[in-house]
Structures are given as structure tokens and as C-alpha cells.
């Protein structure tokens, strides 16, 4: 599997570390529904069969966090962007 790092170019997936779903957002701990929101944030996932937006860390390269879009049915990588700039 090859991941197109925006800084380093196309690199082998072994250079990266996988974190998981990039669509979950840390909730506001002061919100009245914070307990339920944190349960969903920590535990619940869409786990789609198809395009999946996910965090990968390029530890053996530029050491930046990426948001990679990948099809979980085929492992085809559809795109990659720096995590901050992708709005994630």
C-alpha cells in the first residue's frame, strides 16, 4: 500500500502509523451532554465499507499527521492531506 504524503511524495505504508477514523471530534467537556458525547467520541465508529477518512502519522518521513482517504473494500488510497489543513 502506497500513501501519497503531501510533503514527501508517494511512500510505502510501512513508514506510517495508523490511528483511526479522522471524522470524530473531541466534544466540549463543559457541554451538558458531555458524558454521552465523550462515549460516542471514544467508542462509536461509522466503520464504513467504502471511502474512509483516517489519520496516519508519517513517523519515518516528515513526521506530520495526515488525513488519508482510503477505500476499505479495496485499500485504494484516494487522497491525502496534512491533518491541520484538511480541517481535521
Amino acid at each position: 500500500m502506497l500513501i501519497p504524503c503531501p510533503y514527501c511524495g508517494v511512500r510505502d505504508a510501512r513508514e506510517f502509523t495508523y490511528l483511526g477514523d479522522a471524522t470524530v471530534r473531541r466534544p466540549d467537556p463543559a457541554a451538558p451532554d458531555a458524558a454521552e458525547a465523550f462515549h460516542a467520541y471514544v467508542n462509536l465508529r461509522d466503520n464504513p465499507a467504502g471511502p474512509h477518512s483516517e489519520h496516519w502519522y508519517h513517523g519515518a518521513g516528515c513526521r506530520r499527521w495526515l488525513v488519508v482517504t482510503r477505500d476499505t473494500r479495496t485499500h485504494a488510497v484516494l487522497g491525502a492531506a496534512f491533518a491541520g489543513e484538511a480541517g481535521a
Binding site: 495508523y18 471514544v42 462509536l44 461509522d46 476499505t72 485499500h75
Partner: protein, 418 residues
């Protein structure tokens, strides 16, 4: 309905030749309604139907399978049975499963080739010895068997391991003699035949495409062979649980991952039981055909591909070479991948709900095969009585909300690390 197997019957069939071969279960067409519909014709789903009929007298049951029975993870695992867990929520359940394995063939009247050839977990440091001593004590407290072997004890069992030049010297091992292997396909077939003989309909090539609802309540399924109503709908589709949950707008504490397994060319008898490496993820046993059956880590990223990548192949083979360098010139025959439900605490879910009329059996991580009998037994109890049995009381879905998780490895809500 197929006849009961016996030695005399087998001899008579052998003399009659191929014309004696009969299907072991009916290929049923779906009826419009059942008391219970079990989705998923793997080991867990078929065992659930079998125990619903046998233990609870509920035989108006259909098992729906999108392909043919046993074609998912039940046919892709590495066939190991063991009950060497640590935590209170897990170990009594897995030991109950081991006891069911021990009586399975007589109960099913089917040769599942249950072979208690021993499971040996190696340790390589003082800290690992302490951890395994604790685990062994937890196993004994739950009624299982465990022995802590020193280096010489391991050498007597498995003299082919690298004792002399290894980077991580073998200091001993935790041995469960009652552990071993079973023939995974025969387990599926035995449960299918047993359920069928008690009146369960096994419906193949019948994929669930939606759910029938009345308000919140689940009242049946839409399938490729038409709608089927049911008082209770039970999901046993580990690997694809989230795909069905999505049809119900449910989000679950599960990620789907790919786990690979491998088999080598056939050899004469070499490896006496199951051996696991303690300083990398590699485990191996030898099939009755002679091939070494081995595996290691999951791929580590969400996947529905049923196909792994080369880095894990290399990692598993490096683990094997570190443990037993003699396999260096052995050729690999086949590799394959299966989809596993990786849960947020590494432990499974057997529970009622989360919707009325729905029952959930999911989250088996990469340890579902050994659990097959107890999973079916407990799920049948949960479906029939609308409450979990004491054995699966720790496997409830709300443990992720309450924090009562069962995390054997202690790595937290990070599914790819369990």
C-alpha cells in the same frame, strides 16, 4: 433428515459406495415468518440455532447466510481452541467453551476432530514469567488447567525452538494441555446438521439487505429472497456487523480489520501442539495434513478487503524465523485474509438490543473460533430469556458507556492494538 452416524452405518456406507453419500442438512427455502431469525451462517450463528432448539425448545428458527455456511471467518481461522484468558469477565466464559468442546463430538454425533494437543505460550523475561504465572493462576481459579514450564520443560516439548542463539532467549512457557485444535469446517457442518435435525431452516444464498421495523422494534429482515418476519432477529455476523448496523442507523464500538493466516507445504509430524512466540506476534500449529498453520498480527487499518498486504506477511515470517530458524527453507503454500470485528476493549459483545426485537453477537476480534460453542450457547440463552446468562454478563454493549470494559491487553479504546 440424515441418519445418526455410527460405526456400523459407516461400514455399510463404505460398502455401498458414493451412492450412500447424503446431504447432512436440508437446503431450506425461507418461510415468510419465524420465531427467531439468526443472521449469519458461520459457526456462531449455527451454534446459536442449535442451542436454541436443543436447550430452549425453540426450533422455529432460520439461519440466513449470504453465501454458503462456513464461508466467512468460520472457514478462515487457524482452528485453535484454548481458555487461557486472564480477566474475570472472560476466563469463565472461555473455560465453559472449552468444556463444551470436550463434549461436542458426542453431543453433535459428528467428528469435529477436536484434538487437545496443548497450547504453549512462551515467555522470554522475568516480567513475562510473572505475567504468565498470574494468568495461569487466574485460569486455575476459573476451573481451567495451566502449568508453568521452565526452560527445560519447554525444551522437552519443543526441542526445535531456538534456545541457544536467540535474541530473546526462551525462559519457559505457560502450557494449557487441554487446549489444542479442532477442524473448523467440521464444527460448522456438525452444528448445521445438528440444528437441521432439530427443525431449524438453514437458508443459504440469502443476503440481508434491510430490516422490517414497527417503530423502534425490529420485526424481521429484508433479504435477496424476500422479506422474512421474526419475533426476534439475532445478528451473528462478526466482521460485517457495522454494515448491518448501518441499515439500522446504529453506530457500534467496532472497527472491521483484516487478519491473515498462512499454511506451509506439508511436513511429517513436527510440532506437537500450538506454540506462540512471546516477543513478537507469531503462533503456529501443524494440521493433520502436515502443513504448518500460522499467523500473527492484524493489518492494523480498517479493512473490508478479505485480503492482507505484504508487510504483515514479512512480519509474521520474521517472527517464525526468530522462534524456529529450521523453517527458513519451508515454502508457504497459501495465505488468506478474513474480516474481524475489532472492538474497543478487545472483548466480544453478546447482548439483547440495542433495539427491541434485536440481539447482538459481535466484536470477536481475532478470537472467535475457540468461542464458537459457548458463544452459541450464551447467545441462545440471551435470545430465549431476553437476558444474558452469568457467563456472558460481562459482554454487554453498555459496558463501553459505563466503563466496565474487559481489556485483556490494557491498551484502551484503540481497536488495532488489541
Amino acid at each position: 433428515m440424515s441418519a445418526r452416524f455410527s460405526l456400523l452405518g459407516l461400514v455399510a456406507d463404505a460398502l455401498r459406495g458414493p451412492s450412500a453419500l447424503k446431504p447432512h442438512w436440508r437446503d431450506a427455502a425461507p418461510k415468510p415468518a419465524y420465531d427467531v431469525v439468526v443472521v449469519g451462517g458461520g459457526g456462531h450463528g449455527l451454534a446459536t440455532a442449535y442451542y436454541l432448539a436443543k436447550e430452549h425448545g425453540i426450533a422455529n428458527v432460520a439461519v440466513l447466510e449470504k453465501a454458503h455456511v462456513g464461508s466467512g471467518n468460520a472457514g478462515r481461522n487457524t482452528t485453535i481452541i484454548r481458555s487461557n484468558y486472564l480477566l474475570p469477565g472472560n476466563e469463565p466464559f472461555y473455560e465453559a467453551s472449552m468444556k463444551l468442546w470436550e463434549g461436542l463430538e458426542q453431543d453433535l454425533n459428528y467428528n469435529a476432530m477436536v484434538s487437545q494437543r496443548g497450547v504453549l505460550n512462551l515467555f522470554h523475561s522475568d516480567a513475562q514469567r510473572d505475567a504468565y504465572a498470574r494468568r495461569g493462576n487466574a485460569m486455575i481459579l476459573a476451573g481451567a488447567d495451566a502449568e508453568l514450564l521452565d526452560r527445560d520443560g519447554v525444551r522437552a516439548l519443543a526441542p526445535f525452538l531456538d534456545f541457544d542463539t536467540a535474541r530473546f532467549p526462551i525462559k519457559g512457557g505457560l502450557l494449557q494441555r487441554r487446549g489444542g485444535t479442532a477442524r473448523h469446517d467440521a464444527v460448522v457442518w456438525g452444528y448445521a446438521r445438528g440444528a437441521d435435525r432439530r427443525g431449524v431452516d438453514i437458508v443459504q444464498k440469502c443476503e440481508v439487505t434491510g430490516f422490517l421495523r414497527e417503530g423502534e422494534r425490529v420485526t424481521g429482515v429484508e433479504t435477496t429472497r424476500g422479506p422474512i418476519r421474526a419475533q426476534k432477529v439475532a445478528l451473528a455476523v462478526a466482521g460485517s456487523t457495522s454494515r448491518l448496523a448501518r441499515l439500522l442507523d446504529l453506530r457500534l464500538p467496532i472497527e472491521s480489520h483484516c487478519l491473515q493466516a498462512f499454511v506451509s507445504e506439508g511436513l511429517k509430524p513436527l510440532i506437537p501442539g500450538v506454540v506462540t512466540f512471546g516477543m513478537g506476534h507469531f503462533y503456529v500449529s501443524q494440521s493433520d495434513k502436515g502443513g504448518l498453520v500460522f499467523g500473527g498480527d492484524i493489518e492494523g487499518y480498517n479493512s473490508y478487503a478479505q485480503r492482507g498486504n505484504l508487510p504483515v506477511v514479512a512480519d509474521v515470517c520474521e517472527g517464525g524465523m526468530a522462534l524456529m530458524p529450521m523453517i527458513g527453507r519451508l515454502r508457504m503454500l497459501r495465505a488468506w485474509g478474513g474480516l474481524v470485528d475489532m472492538s474497543m476493549d478487545g472483548s466480544p459483545i453478546i447482548d439483547t438490543g440495542p433495539l427491541p426485537g434485536l440481539y447482538l453477537n459481535a466484536g470477536w476480534n481475532y478470537g472467535g473460533f475457540k468461542a464458537t460453542p459457548a458463544s452459541g450457547w450464551c447467545f441462545a440463552h440471551t435470545i430465549a430469556t431476553d437476558a444474558p446468562h452469568a457467563l456472558n454478563a460481562g459482554f454487554r454493549l453498555d459496558r463501553f458507556r459505563t466503563g466496565a470494559v474487559i481489556d485483556e491487553k490494557g491498551v484502551g479504546a484503540q481497536p488495532n492494538l488489541h
